[in-house]
Homo-oligomer: 193 residues x 2
């Protein structure tokens, strides 16, 4: 097999790390995408991850109907990553993994994303955070209401794990869907009625 | 500046076309974005255009915290361009311009986007098309219900303008918002109660 610029396969393997999905545990995003796919397959909910927002600065047209983006930059998202529809309710959430076993650092979420979650909650949507503590292997759903409660009463820049234990919903691991967060949403809807 | 594979900057500039937005009249997308921005400013609704879906195949990291996308491709969107929340309702729509003055060609919308609109309508969301006939300077809102009615009863690959006149809502041009489509949505909500 030939590689560009005379790089030999051996060297290439040393220099660059090919992305391997083998033997890799699914991360939170993968599992949420799979779960949402499952919800759509069984016609339960239509919730999607939004595309990554980028700013395109250069596009090539090697042929009439084909465009290749040659330069683009990642931009800060103005909203959350996931939204959609469930039982007539507008659903909106952001999902993050935390390596810490003691707290979730709030700077992991952009301030305007928090503002967005608050706007949604105020306009009768259902908005929340899904936070996975990877070292603890625990995934929590924290409603915007409980997030607000924390923000109003604490000066801290991170939410301690104890706050999750007391105020968030623990999402049990499953097989299909892996993350059955709509079970929790059902409880939230129940509380609304 | 060095480019990979010995490509010189001069050649690169000739090959690619920078995107210019100067001197361009506002198109339907611009006007919808402005209208949605206005709705957010007055805290009326939170409806956003989704980022363009792309597949990223090459990323450079010139510095530790900066990433530059060097190769990416546009991909077919799995959903519609716009969605969000209004008065507790999930709103979802696709917007298209048509140069024809006699009909709207259905191939302008991907079949899975039509399927998506139907899924949303079935799950108690509010979904529709916004179609602007640019030569007529008329913008219509066609509900998914009326779109379905057309699809069920017609073999045609395009929706004639007469169908819009009889079955869609004409959206009057305004100043701010330019396209006050939520006025029509209010009627749809009214009809649901």
């Amino acid at each position: 097999m030939n590689y560009p610029n005379g790089i030999k396969k051996k060297n290439l393997n040393i220099a660059s790390t090919p992305i391997s999905y083998k033997n890799r545990g699914m991360n939170l995003e993968d599992e949420l995408n799979k779960s949402n796919e499952y919800y759509r397959e069984i016609d339960k909910a239509y919730i999607y991850k939004k595309p990554t927002p980028i700013k395109i600065t250069k596009v090539d047209y090697p042929s009439r109907d084909k465009a290749v983006i040659k330069e683009a930059f990642f931009t800060i998202p103005s909203t959350t990553d996931y939204n959609g529809l469930y039982k007539g309710y507008y659903i909106d959430f952001e999902a993050k993994e935390s390596k810490s076993s003691t707290s979730f650092t709030l700077s992991n979420i952009h301030p305007h994303q928090i503002k967005h979650l608050q706007n949604i909650a105020r306009h009768k949507g259902i908005s929340f955070l899904i936070i996975r503590f990877t070292t603890l292997n625990k995934t929590y759903l924290l409603t915007t209401e409980k997030l607000n409660l924390f923000l109003e009463n604490a000066d801290r820049k991170s939410i301690p794990i104890e706050y999750f234990k007391e105020n968030a919903y623990l999402i049990k691991d499953g097989y299909n869907p892996r993350i059955d967060y709509l079970k929790i949403v059902d409880k939230l809807i129940g509380g609304k009625k």
